[in-house]
């Protein structure tokens, strides 16, 4: 029980030292930063990633900077508590080109896939304590893996990015029926622009081709996560590895933001909607078997430093069980209030209500309190 606090304190101390040492002016040099995420929850949610009680959330130590004129690199070590143990892992370790011609970019190493709207973003930048059900069910919350990426940005007046990624896939489907060297590929397109000074938007479509079929066990067929089968949703899923997977997943995303005359420091509205559909669940699946998830989130910054938001999530899955499937349906609604006095701190309180329609017996209601503290430099956030 004491370990999370101790580790958090050590992380904080190390990060302060690192931040102090590295925050010196170095516009072209390396920078380091750390994020501490502490959460207190009244209970764990079905498919949730936060345990009951005071826990270390997704905390990390990041270094980033250039490697010569042509490359840049980033390394991120992450810590979080999971079932009363603190787990550490290398979350990101990649190099990326800076000087390829014609808007091309190549990245290699371990990194978060650019599938969907949120996956590439660091969880500490999220507007809610838990990621949407879509991510928790289909992508293990935040899917990063070992692979390569090729992106192209078009020289157009609006934003257009096409991308292809190839991954090992071991961190998406931990235990596969058959091992393959190239387990997963993601193809994605993203468009975006401004409607006028106050409104901006982004839309994207991604396709995940997953060649790692989740191993089906004799008893209570497991779908990569844990606690599948009749008592699915027992406890919560691993931080990595999808709870429900299939051969093909489509994700569509739309994000829209409004700020009066583009001045978001005083007021802003952010709306995001995503929908994902998974097909080809396993060798026993028939045409109609699919997983579907979607969510709609709305956040309003109503005063400098203050934000309020709500999100509704829906998940409908086919839970593998030997050679057949059981139906699983879960609904979730969350409201949150956040106080962000500076760039470095966030204090958030969130209430979440889950409704089990089938197969998720551990669904419940939770009150969560989250505190995020950033030390030193940290990578800029995306739209």
């Amino acid at each position: 029980m004491k370990r999370p606090y101790l580790t958090a304190a050590m992380l904080a101390a190390a990060a302060t030292a690192a931040g102090a040492a590295m925050a010196q002016p170095a516009p072209t040099g390396w920078q380091a930063g750390a994020v501490l995420d502490l959460t207190a929850a009244s209970r764990a949610l079905a498919l949730g990633q936060r345990d009951k009680g005071l826990r270390l959330g997704h905390s990390d130590l990041t270094v980033f900077g250039p490697m010569g004129p042509h490359l840049e690199a980033q390394g991120t070590a992450a810590l979080h508590s999971h079932e009363r143990k603190v787990e550490a892992e290398v979350e990101e370790a990649w190099v990326q080109t800076r000087t390829l011609p014609a808007g091309l970019q190549l990245r290699a190493g371990r990194f978060a896939s650019q599938i969907g709207y949120l996956n590439e973003q660091h969880p500490h930048a999220d507007d809610f304590v838990e990621r949407p059900l879509l991510y928790r069910a289909f992508l293990g919350g935040h899917w990063n893996d070992d692979g390569v990426r090729l992106n192209w940005v078009a020289p157009t007046p609006f934003y257009l990015r096409l991308g292809a990624e190839a991954f090992r896939g071991k961190r998406l489907v931990d235990e596969a029926a058959a091992e393959r060297p190239l387990g997963a590929a993601v193809f994605s397109a993203r468009l975006g622009g401004d409607l006028n000074a106050s409104h901006s938007w982004q839309a994207g479509l991604s396709l995940l081709r997953n060649r790692r079929e989740a191993a089906v066990h004799e008893e209570g067929g497991e779908a990569g996560g844990e606690g599948a089968g009749h008592d699915h949703g027992h406890g919560h899923s691993h931080a990595h590895g999808a709870a429900f997977s299939g051969r093909r997943m489509w994700v569509g995303e739309v994000a829209w933001k409004w700020a009066p005359e583009g001045n978001n420091s005083r007021q802003q509205v952010r709306i995001a909607y995503e929908r994902a559909q998974v097909r080809g669940l396993n060798r026993f699946a028939v045409r109609g078997d699919k997983h579907v998830a979607d969510y709609l989130s709305v956040v309003w910054r109503f005063a400098p430093a203050w934000e309020v938001g709500g999100r509704i999530d829906a998940l409908s899955v086919r839970i593998p069980h030997d050679d057949h499937f059981h139906s699983g349906k879960l609904r979730e609604a969350s409201v949150m209030l956040a106080y962000k006095p500076t760039h470095a701190q966030t204090l958030r309180v969130q209430a979440t209500r889950q409704r089990n329609r089938a197969g998720f017996d551990t669904a419940g209601n939770a009150l969560q309190l989250q505190y995020i503290l950033s030390f030193g430099a940290h990578a800029a956030h995306s739209f």
């Binding site: 925050a23 091309l104 934003y159 468009l191 500076t342």
Partner: protein, 305 residues
């Protein structure tokens, strides 16, 4: 013409399109600037350039999102001009990374940071996360000192000659003319603003620190409890107690800031005017160019009585 005509028509069209693209690319120099003051400076030295400013005077340059439209604009840029000194740390690195444009990466000739070419005031030791948004390099709002504008203009002139070599002579001439005209203006502004020397103001944030220092104005209080933090009632009360005995000439806020805290303070002090001024070049008059901005700021400060 014969060989082209003998090919299928779509090939000719493609070739024509490619030629038009290449020609278009060679003609217009595309410049991306993080803030409007640098867009205005680019227009002084390169009037033919296509200039896109990522932000405008009604936005807080500390709080900008790496919007898709900005990535697209940076993708097409031949030159990017930003302030640096961590002012854009929350968004520019993301734009550079996502743009896939080799010309505007740090260290490339097409990426110019103004703060690298001037001396910065008030460097701070690195603080803890509880100290607010501290810029260790120093105050980044360098564009409000016209003498530093001159330093940046020289660096920009040189960089324009590097990234657009065919127009080297034009940039040299424009820079020389700008320098002469700008020095005259500085002398005029200093004469005009002489009565301001020694006066005291309260202000929200350190946006105008360079302007105040240049004109000999003392900022006796900051409405922000910590850099980047919005004014809190407790802190405003402290500022009031600090300034009540000897009220400042004015309470100064930027046009992108909420004027309410300043108005409260001014009311409590009694007969102290609130000056909500643009912090940079605006799209509409009266501050639609760099000279007009300094004219306007000095007139506003002189008028506050």
């Amino acid at each position: 013409m014969q060989p082209i005509r003998s090919r299928p028509p779509w090939r000719a069209a493609l070739l024509a399109g490619a030629l038009a693209l290449a020609a278009g690319g060679a003609q217009a120099l595309s410049v991306f600037t993080c803030e409007p003051e640098w867009a205005a400076l680019v227009r002084e030295l390169a009037p033919h350039a296509q200039v896109h400013s990522a932000t405008h005077a009604r936005q807080d340059p500390h709080h900008i999102e790496a919007r898709p439209s900005l990535i697209a604009a940076l993708r097409r840029a031949d030159l990017a001009v930003c302030t640096g000194a961590s002012l854009e740390a929350g968004w520019l690195p993301m734009l550079q990374q996502r743009s896939g444009n080799a010309k505007v990466q740090n260290g490339a000739p097409g990426m110019l940071y103004a703060a690298d070419h001037v001396s910065l005031i008030d460097p701070k030791p690195p603080g803890t996360p509880f100290d607010g948004d501290v810029h260790t390099e120093g105050n980044p709002h360098v564009h409000l000192d016209p003498r530093r504008i001159l330093d940046v203009a020289r660096a920009l002139g040189e960089q324009l000659q590097v990234v657009d070599a065919p127009r080297r002579d034009l940039y040299r001439q424009r820079l020389a003319a700008f320098e002469v005209g700008w020095r005259e203006r500085i002398a005029q502004w200093e004469r005009r603003a002489a009565p301001l020397r020694g006066s005291r103001v309260a202000a929200q944030h350190t946006t105008y620190a360079y302007l105040f220092r240049w004109l000999g104005i003392e900022q006796v209080a900051d409405l922000e409890p910590k850099p980047g933090m919005p004014p809190s009632p407790g802190h405003l009360q402290r500022v009031l107690e600090l300034t009540r005995a000897n009220p400042p000439r004015a309470v100064v806020v930027s046009s992108y800031q909420d004027a309410n805290p300043a108005q409260w303070l001014a009311q409590q002090l009694g007969r102290v005017p609130v000056l909500q001024m643009p912090a940079t070049v605006t799209e509409e008059p009266p501050a639609a160019s760099l000279p007009a901005l300094f004219d306007h700021l000095i007139e506003r400060l002189l008028a506050a009585r």
